[in-house]
């Protein structure tokens, strides 16, 4: 089956400020295919190019950012260098990190409607879709609220709804919990988990939240030094403890528990999810009795 997104040896350098400065390659040959319907998580050290990668998925990189690009990105067969960004945005919806800079309409409803207005959707369909999108992120009750009255978690959910409403084939979330307090984080992660459960949308989830990533992803991709360093199921990737530590990433805490117990107690645990951990520890302690 043809992947919905295909990154072929993607390399990218932002434009330099001085003409004699050589280009600094942020991405150095990323090869990645995203299949329709999957929940793909992307991890990597700060500054490795995760946001750049997200922007490359809808053409903002390189069309709005300039710079030098190598290789190519295909979105549903369309080349991101030659197809207009607004056109690509119908297929790939990117939710940025900071909700403050994405929200500029006077009401939640108006905010969610904005993308649909740009796409020329009829009013009746707009109202239906807005209700649907706000429902998916549990923000329906706030439709007429002013965004200024919302908490960080609520704002980020509105930002997600306003992209979701456009029914993109792929939803890209660039560190959606970055600036949120634990309550806001939980709200947003619950909303994302709900999207995962109800299925239908392909999700690319960029984050440092390894616990969440371990629980929900179909596949995990680890970027390091501009390329894909590790790739596979959460079980496969989070078993590579040494490499993850060298790259500088945090393991899901239950994995650290497994590693610690294996090292100190001679056990042979290999869980990466909370439910697996519970079951394994339960039976292990049962055996003792």
């Amino acid at each position: 089956m043809n992947p919905i997104l295909s990154l072929e040896n993607l390399g990218y350098a932002y434009p330099t400020l001085k003409t004699d400065q050589p280009p600094e390659w942020v991405l150095r040959g990323v090869n990645l295919a995203v299949q329709e319907g999957e929940f793909l998580s992307i991890m990597g050290p700060t500054g490795v190019g995760k946001t750049t990668l997200c922007l490359a998925l809808n053409g903002i990189v390189p069309q709005l950012t300039g710079g030098t690009i190598r290789g190519r990105v295909l979105v549903d067969g369309l080349d991101t260098c030659s197809t207009p960004v607004a056109e690509l945005s119908r297929r790939v919806g990117v939710v940025f990190q900071d909700p403050e800079t994405q929200i500029f309409n006077p009401s939640v409803e108006a905010e969610v409607a904005f993308g649909l207005e740009n796409l020329g959707i009829s009013r009746t369909e707009m109202c239906q879709r807005i209700d649907w999108a706000l429902d998916r992120v549990s923000m329906r009750a706030f439709a007429s609220s002013s965004p200024a009255h919302l908490s960080g978690g609520q704002k980020q959910r509105v930002a997600i709804a306003s992209i979701l409403v456009m029914r993109p084939r792929v939803l890209v979330l660039d560190e959606p919990t970055a600036n949120l307090d634990p309550a806001g984080k939980a709200e947003v992660l619950d909303a994302v988990a709900e999207l995962r459960r109800s299925g239908g949308t392909t999700v690319v989830f960029v984050s440092h939240e390894s616990d969440f990533i371990a629980e929900l992803s179909d596949r995990v991709v680890v970027l390091n030094e501009g390329v894909v360093a590790l790739q596979g199921s959460p079980a496969e990737v989070f078993a590579r403890t040494g490499e993850l530590q060298t790259i500088g990433l945090q393991l899901p805490q239950v994995c650290e528990v497994a590693n610690q117990l294996n090292r100190l107690e001679g056990t042979h645990f290999s869980f990466h999810r909370m439910d697996q951990a519970r079951t394994a520890l339960h039976s292990a302690l049962q055996v003792e009795q």
Binding site: P45, T46, G47, G152, A178, P182, A183, H208, L264, L285
Partner: protein, 281 residues
């Protein structure tokens, strides 16, 4: 600058009349301590911290730095003793070079040019920022800008260092490197207050903790005790590290409730399995 101690007496503050954000806070922070400040958004953490460098003045009550009431001292004077690193590095970065950015605060303090250069070099080295010394800091990546903003305040060598969410957006390795630098500073004689939402970080790496809720201090002391305190626990349930939830699910097997780190969990596992083996024997 030697480590600074803090005291507040019945500190009250509101942004709008009628809705107090801080309600009669009585607090003592000893010199040389390293304390995490935790609490939900709106609990008053940042508001309280801003009283320590004069950005906010109490509506009633007192703020004492090293035993002195600071209500008459201007913010720029207090900057000598109290360093404040804001959450968003882009709210302070403006210079043409990283070196100049670090030197800015030092020049404000009126140091001699020789001292300015010496301290700048030292701090750029400490933070591994020498390769970027001549680059315009606004063009660096986020992680580096974060480092620059922290380095710029470190260079001023304040006796009290307040950091507002310095690790948000950083990967684990950078977080650990920063905490190492903070611990080193703390040992050399600096009191540190670190506002954060990352309870895993607090449980693993920060010795003391101050918990706030609805404008009051609910717990203050060693981290483990504060996290185990039911008042704190209830308010921060969402944010407690996964090991806590895992331990709670094994309660029926005899697992203790107060598990907050992987080490805690390991010890609890050993104790529980030994006692179960003992029972079986």
């Amino acid at each position: 600058m030697p480590a600074v101690s803090l005291q507040t007496r019945d500190l009250t503050f509101s942004y709008l009349p009628g809705s107090p954000v801080l309600r009669g806070i009585n607090l003592e922070i000893a010199a040389d301590t390293f304390t995490a400040v935790i609490g939900q958004n709106g609990s008053g953490k940042t508001t309280l911290m801003k009283h320590f460098n004069g950005l906010l003045r109490p509506a009633s009550g007192q703020v004492l730095v090293d035993g002195e009431d600071i209500s008459r001292q201007p913010v720029s004077e207090l900057a000598r003793r109290v360093g404040y690193v804001f959450q968003n590095p882009d709210h302070q970065i403006f210079s043409a070079s990283t070196r100049a950015e670090v030197a800015f605060g030092l020049r404000n303090l009126g140091l001699s040019e020789g001292d300015v250069q010496a301290r700048t070099d030292q701090v750029l080295e400490e933070f591994h920022l020498l390769p970027y010394a001549h680059r315009q800091p606004a063009t660096l990546s986020f992680g580096l800008r974060r480092k620059v903003s922290i380095a710029a305040v470190f260079a001023m060598q304040p006796g009290l260092l307040i950091l507002d969410e310095p690790t948000s957006g950083l990967d684990w390795k950078s977080t650990q490197e920063l905490l190492d630098l903070l611990h080193a500073r703390n040992r050399q004689g600096t009191t540190i207050l670190l506002i954060t939402h990352d309870l895993r970080l607090v449980a693993d790496l920060i010795p003391r903790c101050l918990a706030m809720s609805a404008g009051q201090v609910t717990a203050h002391g060693a981290t483990h005790e504060v996290l185990a305190n039911p008042a704190t626990n209830g308010a921060l349930k969402n944010g407690l590290p996964p090991v806590h939830q895992l331990a709670a699910s094994l309660k029926n097997q005899g697992f203790p409730a107060n598990v907050f780190t992987v080490d805690d969990f390991g010890a609890a596992y050993r104790a529980t399995s030994e006692s179960l083996r003992g029972d079986a024997a």
